[in-house]
Each structure stands twice: as structure tokens, then as C-alpha cells.
């Protein structure tokens, strides 16, 4: 009604100058988006329905063939299994460590800034450097880990060279690298809790543990859920740590989904097959993100974050 009146008076809803300027301002972003996001998105789907070894020009259409062979591929299931093991360890370990650090740092501490700085150091350190340093620490013969274990009389395992212990070493390194990051997020959540809750509890005579259990942790539920979703998405995409520390070995015991994708796509050059892997990963991550939006709120957050 209102717009009809305005229109009859010769006003249009949008100033044509604004529209022109807006499109001009959006142009650079739009070009990058169309060429390097929109096109790859559809082309990747297209590729996943074709069998294509990059070296030959033939690109036969195979329908869902790539997906079908993927689900019958033991190496793929091995990668899924390894990714899930890694994720379980990284999600639980990092959540608990970062939450504990945040709770310890939260209140009444003089040296808070000092500790926060120290715990954040691994976060600013390049992941590749972290992976290299920990590879050296986990060196079976001369590494720090086994030297320290020897001091207390334990003969340490071969770590990255052992199919049983390699994944453990990766998870440990991941927790060391990322806990400081999630600690800061937990701290932000903790500072958001109104002081009144604790004043009330003190009047009621609650002790420190009761306050933690009945006030702090329940009020942190949303932040905790958010942290765990971020960790899930990032763990599903783990690549660098594995690539540098074990290369997926020994005996494929640490090969994760993205490492398998890399092997198929850029070592065997099976572009169609690798695209199908990417799409399976994408759909799983999409489901996790949608779950986050629906049940936790706080859109986007983790999504743009890369490890």
C-alpha cells in the first residue's frame, strides 16, 4: 500500500544510483566468487559423476559409480575410521583441556595475562612447525618423549613408526596446538556469566565445587557445544598434521579422509574419484553445520576457520 502510494508520487523503492554503485562495489568479490567458488562447486559435482584420470582426455560418465565404488573401497573406510578415531580424541581432549585451563584462569589470578599468553603460543605457531618439532620429540630413539619416559624406567614405543601409537601421537600434538584457541573462547563465555548468580549462591552457602557444577557448567553449555562443533568440523578436515608427521602411515594406520583425497586426486590423479570423496566430506560437514545452526545457534562461526 505504502509503496504503491510512493510509486504514484514518482518515488521508487530503490534509488537507481544506489543500485549501480552497489553492483560496482560488489563486482570484485563477485568475480572471485564466480570463478573460484561457484564454478568449482558445480564442476566438482560434475566431476564426481565422471571417471577421469587427468592424463587421458576421455572423461566417461559413470553416474553414481564413483560413490558406489567409494562405499566398497576398504581404503576409504579405513580413512573414515581413522578420521573418527582422531576426531574423538581431539574433540574430547581439546575440549577438556581448554575448559580446564579457562576455568583455572578465569578468576582471582594475578598472573592471568602471563598464562594466557603462554597458552596461546602454540596457536600462533605454524602447524607445520609444530608437526616438525613434535616429530622430533616423538623420535623413537633420540626423541625427548622417550628420553623422559626412560627417566621413570619406561621403554617408550616407536610412536610415529608404530601403527598402535601413531594416532595417539597425532591426537596429543593436536591437543597441544589447539587448546589455547578454545581456551580463549571458553574465557569469553565465562566472562559473559553475570556475577549475580554467584552472589546468590554464596548467600545460599554454596561451595566452590557446587558453584562450578550448578552454575558455571550449565551456563557454559552453549559455548561448550559450539566448541565441540567447531572441533568436529575441523577434525574431520584434518590433513596437515597427518601429512607432515606420518604421511598417513605406518601401514595407512593414520590416513584420514582428506589425506586419502589428496592421495587419490594428486598422486593417482583420479579426479572424479577424489571429487566424490570431497563431496561425501562436504555433505557430512554440512550436516554438522546445520545441526549447529538449528540446535546451538551462532551461525557460521567455525566454518571459515582453517587448520
Amino acid at each position: 500500500m505504502k509503496s504503491a502510494v510512493l510509486k504514484s508520487l514518482g518515488c521508487r523503492r530503490y534509488k537507481s544510483e544506489d543500485t549501480r554503485v552497489a553492483y560496482a562495489f560488489l563486482f570484485p568479490s563477485a568475480v572471485v566468487f564466480l570463478v573460484f567458488t561457484a564454478f568449482p562447486f558445480f564442476y566438482s559435482l560434475y566431476l564426481s559423476f565422471h571417471e577421469w584420470n587427468i592424463l587421458t582426455p576421455a572423461k566417461p560418465f559413470v553416474g553414481l559409480g564413483n560413490y558406489a565404488s567409494l562405499f566398497r573401497d576398504p581404503d576409504f573406510w579405513n580413512a573414515v575410521k581413522n578420521t573418527l578415531i582422531y576426531s574423538a580424541g581431539a574433540i574430547l581432549g581439546t575440549t577438556l583441556t581448554s575448559l580446564a585451563l579457562a576455568l583455572l584462569l578465569w578468576k582471582g589470578l594475578r598472573a592471568r595475562n602471563f598464562f594466557r599468553t603462554v597458552y596461546f603460543l602454540p596457536v600462533v605457531t605454524s602447524l607445520v612447525v609444530v608437526a616438525i618439532v613434535w616429530s622430533w620429540i616423538f623420535d623413537p630413539q633420540f626423541g625427548l618423549a622417550n628420553k623422559l619416559l626412560k627417566l621413570i624406567g619406561i621403554n617408550g614405543p616407536a610412536w610415529l613408526y608404530s601403527p598402535h601409537w601413531a594416532m595417539f601421537a597425532l591426537v596429543f600434538t593436536s591437543i597441544w596446538k589447539h587448546s589455547g584457541y578454545y581456551m580463549v573462547i571458553f574465557l569469553a563465555g565465562l566472562y559473559g556469566i553475570p556475577e549475580v548468580f554467584y552472589e546468590c549462591a554464596e548467600i545460599d552457602g554454596a561451595n566452590g565445587f557446587q558453584k562450578l557444577w550448578h552454575i558455571t557448567l550449565p551456563l557454559l553449555r552453549r559455548v561448550t557445544a559450539l566448541v565441540m562443533v567447531m572441533l568436529t568440523i575441523n577434525s574431520f578436515k584434518v590433513f596437515t598434521l597427518v601429512y607432515v608427521m606420518t604421511g598417513g602411515g605406518p601401514m595407512k594406520s593414520t590416513e584420514t579422509i582428506v589425506n586419502y583425497l589428496y592421495r587419490q586426486g594428486f598422486e593417482s590423479f583420479r579426479m572424479g574419484y577424489a571429487s566424490a570423496i570431497a563431496w561425501v566430506l562436504f555433505i557430512v560437514i554440512l550436516l554438522v553445520s546445520l545441526f549447529q545452526m538449528k540446535f546451538i545457534g551462532g551461525r557460521r562461526s567455525a566454518i571459515g576457520q582453517q587448520y
Binding site: 552497489a22 570484485p28 572471485v32 567458488t37 582471582g108 618439532v133 633420540f142 573462547i185 590433513f239 582428506v258
Partner: protein, 283 residues
């Protein structure tokens, strides 16, 4: 009676604080030790690397490990590659982001909100889906193994637009109206009124984007092939897979690679912590 309870409580809480510090200090030690181990290893000779005994400090400080880094890999060139790529991406993201954010926050045009949220939704698309077609596209354009392959796809991105738009929305319209009455066009309003007002947002975004592009791994690993085009993280990873157990030189290379970032972190901690946790804190 009352004072007894108070004293008990005091002693207990003092003990608690003691335990707290103990835990925090051992945590700090666990964080700091690998860094120290990296630094000390980088000065050790082979006889002190390949030994079963445990000694923290090198008995003879061997500085030549650092020179050897430059003999084994084109370290300087890789460092330069990383600088070029990160600087170009960071500046471009801020520029294209500012333009797009202005359009979304301050201009009215048909389809604005639909476009914005659609653009935002593409953040859910993992890099792994884009990388294969992008590789093929860049290969077709003969850009593989150039700086273009590392920068072009990242010159603009939804996150910068989203982040800048938030702060552009907070600027009072009256301020912009005043500028408009003074005859300023949209470009001038953006760069002479809005950008100076949101300087801190730009700095935070800049730190975030720089760190992110500096640490990129999967993309440059796929998009470059020759040693002289590798960025620092990829170059270090190649170095490790080729040099195997030359730990001293590898640690020296690691020290050289992280020293600038850690130095910058100590100089501008708050900005770093804000910048890096940006994605999480926003929700």
C-alpha cells in the same frame, strides 16, 4: 568460633590457590618445553642429537646449523613467497571486503539480503571441494606454480565481507548523511569516513587474514610444484620428508620460520588473540 571457621576457610582457599598455580605452571611448562627443545636442538651438533643421554643445553653452541638451512633449501625465496602471498591476500581481502561490506551495509538495492546470506552460506563449503576444480582451472590458465595460483582465488572472501559489514552497520547514519550533504560520493564516504572510524576492525581482520594465509598448507601444496615457488610451510614439510633425520638443521629452519610471528605476537598480543579467535567469538 567464627574466626576459626574463617581461618579454616582461608587456609583451605590458600591451598586451593597453590594447587591452581601448580597446575597452571605445569601446563605452561608443557607448552614452553617443546619451544625450548626446538631452540636448543637447533644449536646442537650430531653427537649431541644422536645420543641416548638426556641433556637440555648444547655443550658447544653450533651456529652453523642456521647457515646450513640456506644450503639445503631456498629458505629466503620461500620466505619471500610467503610474504608476497600473505601481503597480497591480506590487502586485497580488506579492500574488496570493504567495498562489498559497504554495499551490503549502507546501500539499498534489490536482492541485497538474499545475496548477502547466500554469499555467507558459501563459508560452509570446505576448501577440499574447491581445490580439485580450481587446480584444473588454474592448470588450464597455465597459472599452476605461480604466485597467481596462490593469490587469485583468495583475493576476496565472504568472511571479510561479513566481518566488516557488522562494524559498518554500527556507524550512525547521521554521520554519513552529513558527509553526503558535504558532497562526498560513496567512495569518499567509505574511505575517508568509514574506514578511519573502523580502523580497529580492519587491524583485527588484517591480523586474522595474514596469519591464516601465512599458515595455508593444503592449497599451496597442491598449486605449486617447484622448490622455488613453495611457501614456507610447504617448503619446511618438503624439507622434512627429504632430510629425514637432520633434526638440528630442521629445528634451525623451524626457529627461523616461527621467530617473526612469535615476535609480532609478543608486540601485539591482544590484537592477535582477538584476530585469531575472531571466528569463534563472533557467535
Amino acid at each position: 568460633m567464627a574466626s576459626n571457621i574463617d581461618r579454616g576457610r582461608y587456609i583451605r582457599s590458600a591451598g586451593l590457590v597453590g594447587v591452581k598455580y601448580l597446575v597452571l605452571l605445569s601446563g605452561a611448562a608443557a607448552v614452553a618445553f617443546p619451544f625450548l627443545w626446538m631452540v636448543f636442538t637447533s644449536f646442537k651438533g650430531p653427537s649431541e642429537i644422536f645420543t641416548y643421554s638426556f641433556k637440555l643445553l648444547p655443550s658447544k653452541w653450533r651456529f652453523s646449523n642456521y647457515l646450513e638451512v640456506f644450503e639445503f633449501i631456498p629458505f629466503g625465496r620461500m620466505f619471500l613467497n610467503s610474504v608476497i602471498v600473505s601481503v597480497v591476500i591480506t590487502i586485497s581481502q580488506m579492500f574488496t571486503g570493504a567495498l562489498a561490506a559497504y554495499a551490503f551495509a549502507r546501500l539499498r538495492f534489490p536482492g541485497r539480503d538474499v545475496l548477502f546470506y547466500a554469499y555467507l552460506a558459501t563459508m560452509m563449503l570446505p576448501e577440499q571441494v574447491r581445490i580439485i576444480p580450481s587446480f584444473l582451472l588454474l592448470k588450464w590458465m597455465h597459472l599452476i606454480d605461480t604466485h597467481w595460483a596462490l593469490t587469485l582465488p583468495w583475493l576476496a572472501g565472504p568472511f571479510s565481507v561479513f566481518f566488516l559489514r557488522q562494524s559498518f552497520l554500527d556507524i550512525p547514519q547521521s554521520l554519513l548523511d552529513a558527509a553526503q550533504i558535504d558532497g562526498a560520493g560513496h567512495l569518499r564516504i567509505l574511505f575517508q569516513v568509514i574506514v578511519p572510524l573502523t580502523r580497529n576492525t580492519f587491524l583485527t581482520l588484517g591480523v586474522f587474514t595474514f596469519m591464516w594465509s601465512w599458515n595455508m598448507f593444503f592449497w599451496p601444496l597442491v598449486m605449486t610444484q617447484s622448490l622455488t615457488m613453495r611457501t614456507l610451510p610447504v617448503g619446511l614439510a618438503m624439507f622434512k620428508s627429504q632430510m629425514g633425520t637432520n633434526w638440528a638443521v630442521m629445528m634451525a629452519a623451524s626457529v627461523l620460520a616461527v621467530a617473526p610471528i612469535i615476535l609480532a605476537f609478543f608486540l601485539a598480543q591482544r590484537r592477535f588473540i582477538e584476530g585469531i579467535t575472531l571466528t569463534g567469538l563472533k557467535s
